[in-house]
Symmetry: D2
Subunit: 222 residues, 4 copies
């Protein structure tokens, strides 16, 4: 059993509430209201800036060139993912300027700054555990939604589902799982597991609140 | 005009939405549902741990013994405020263990980690501006609610209002305003004002979301 | 065997080179050239500012109110120790302004910033291990030099030896040893010991270089 | 006048002592004892790990994607420079394992941790000013030594001089100068200049101490 699986098991309810959140279910079924998706996309852009910072932090926290190279790869990948994201948003008529000028929602602030502060306060293991609900959870969600995509050639959120069900997304998630095991072998003492489980559960709940934010902002406009 | 007043003016709507939030209005009128207040109190305990960390950070960020002594005083005051808080909660039948075992809400995570990450990313001026909606805003709210307290000897939230309308609270707020001016004289370039205004506005909106959380948690239980 | 003793055993040569450094031997014998002691005292003032910052960092890194209170106590004690230090220096005709205007030597920068960066990069255990050669080593040195002090009522460095052989110094050292054990029980995995030993050995060598700096600066003036 | 030139002017003596250090003069003349150069090379490898961390920190400290991309580029360049360095050392019969197993000298610790702690304590401008004596100073030294290289086809340190007198080194230095101006326009208040000048002067003195370390280690072996 990987350390990631142990953390998921310890936070089973939170994990289910996040990965099967109503936003995700509607996204998969293709009946998520477009305003909810648009709000999500815009906040996700603001989210990615902070995520890139988190990989910079991972490099700062590294002890070996391998750690540094992993931080560098994550930083570069996040900067590139942002460009993909900007193109995806352009398809929905949302410009980069519009996104950059939007205020961050509390849910966006909560998850991103939790990751950054947890990583700064602790070590590389804490940081990567805080990042994992995003990196690994999105690939899990993407894989689950993929059949819905294949069943519906007109799926309105095809591009999003395709991105997170891609082989690339799977590979990145598998690497993250392996790296958490490697960091666990280095740093994890038995007494530390409860703290790690708390980080994982909190980060997972913050991700669920991020989906909820999309629904709430759309509902508030009606 | 103090720098704090300039920041407040630049974020006038956010400041009004925070300091005149429905939670505050009901708190002053004495008709805030008790469950809303209880949820607020419990989350505020979790908030104070992070706030104490922020004053530790202020000491780390200091350049002179004066900065260090200010960080130390803030840290000590926050630890002591927590003890007051624990006693206040005991009066409402909420134990320290119960508070410590409660999960942090997204709104709690959002404001606290925003302050910590903003302070770590930037300098002492950024940190103290991010702290100011709490330190200074609570005294402003306390002062506004004080007449309601004096008009009603049975006010259910008398202790809370008394604490934040006290001379101590006013003095701490005045010191914070003066310190922000002092840090501004040291660090503020004209080009930096927009970023500082963004920090202030974001922190203020996170404070408003913290009040809203009290109302939402109570509403969800009904 | 305490964790501190394990670390000391693993770095036995470095520890001996630090605690029995020629500067220390001459200090105990009372024949240390005064210029060497003066240079040391001035740099030590600059050192204490950074040490106070390290205790602010310890508070930032804390998870519990106990951790926070320990950071606060260390911060307060260091600020107070600085005042003692300023009085000690006044006795040698060195003013606070003179010390504050002196440039930091590489050896001063090396140890202090090593502690701060190691603590920021890692967790509370890393930070307190990096601090330990100073906090605990000085008490060990003080205890060893105490008989020389008692044998010589005119000892030129009586005040310094008295301070670090005091019961207060011993108590602080014992508390630091106990806290490292407590942090070890929380955070230490077997795989992490080599890294911890490296931190301890490096910090110890930086302390030895700090003594050497006093001798070198005095020699350069001759 | 660029901000970098203002800083250099304010620290003219320290800058001259660094860029015209005896180690540099002997390196250019080709009569630097090989042991001094070897010690320098080995410590420089340990230096580069910390420098890569500093660029990770720069990404963490960034506010815009431009800042993040600059951090990422610096991180990637430093990781690649390390590979060049490993090859250069292999030519001198020094293996990567040998370098990684060498203990850091106080001078190595002093400069690298000063950069990291200064950057963490302050903002991006502080960080890049602390990095500048290395990034920009090496290109200045390289350019000055280039004629000596051209005059002597058998120059023992040809590879080193070629690397730091290359167009790439010049371009990186020019970019660093321009970026410091850009950060200055964003962040520099007049009251802050003395602190910035202190950072620059301290970092420059730590670089000079790094050269001196090469000479001292070689002398100690004789």
């Amino acid at each position: 059993m990987t350390l990631f699986d142990e953390l998921k098991t310890a936070a089973a309810d939170d994990w289910a509430a996040y990965t099967h959140h109503s936003f995700v279910q509607q996204l998969g079924a293709g009946n998520l209201p477009q305003p909810a998706f648009r709000h999500y996309l815009i906040q996700d852009y603001l989210f990615l800036i902070q995520f890139a910072r988190a990989y910079g932090l991972a490099a700062y926290k590294g002890h070996s060139f391998e750690d540094l190279a992993k931080g560098q790869a994550g930083l570069q990948a996040t900067i590139e993912e942002t460009e993909l994201h900007v193109r995806l948003c352009a398809g929905w008529g949302i410009s980069r300027e519009q996104m950059a000028a939007t205020a961050e929602q509390p849910a966006t602030v909560a998850y991103t700054r939790y990751v950054l502060d947890t990583g700064m306060q602790g070590d590389l293991l804490d940081l990567h555990v805080a990042l994992s609900p995003c990196v690994i959870g999105y690939a899990e969600i993407g894989a689950r939604l993929k059949p819905a995509l294949e069943a519906n050639p007109e799926h309105p959120y095809a591009e999003w589902v395709a991105e997170y069900s891609s082989e690339d997304a799977r590979r990145l998630a598998d690497e993250a799982i392996a790296y958490i095991d490697q960091l666990g072998a280095r740093y994890l003492s038995p007494a530390r597991f409860p703290r790690l489980a708390e980080i994982f559960a909190t980060a997972t709940r913050m991700e669920a609140a991020f989906w909820q934010m999309g629904l709430d902002l759309a509902a508030a406009e009606e």
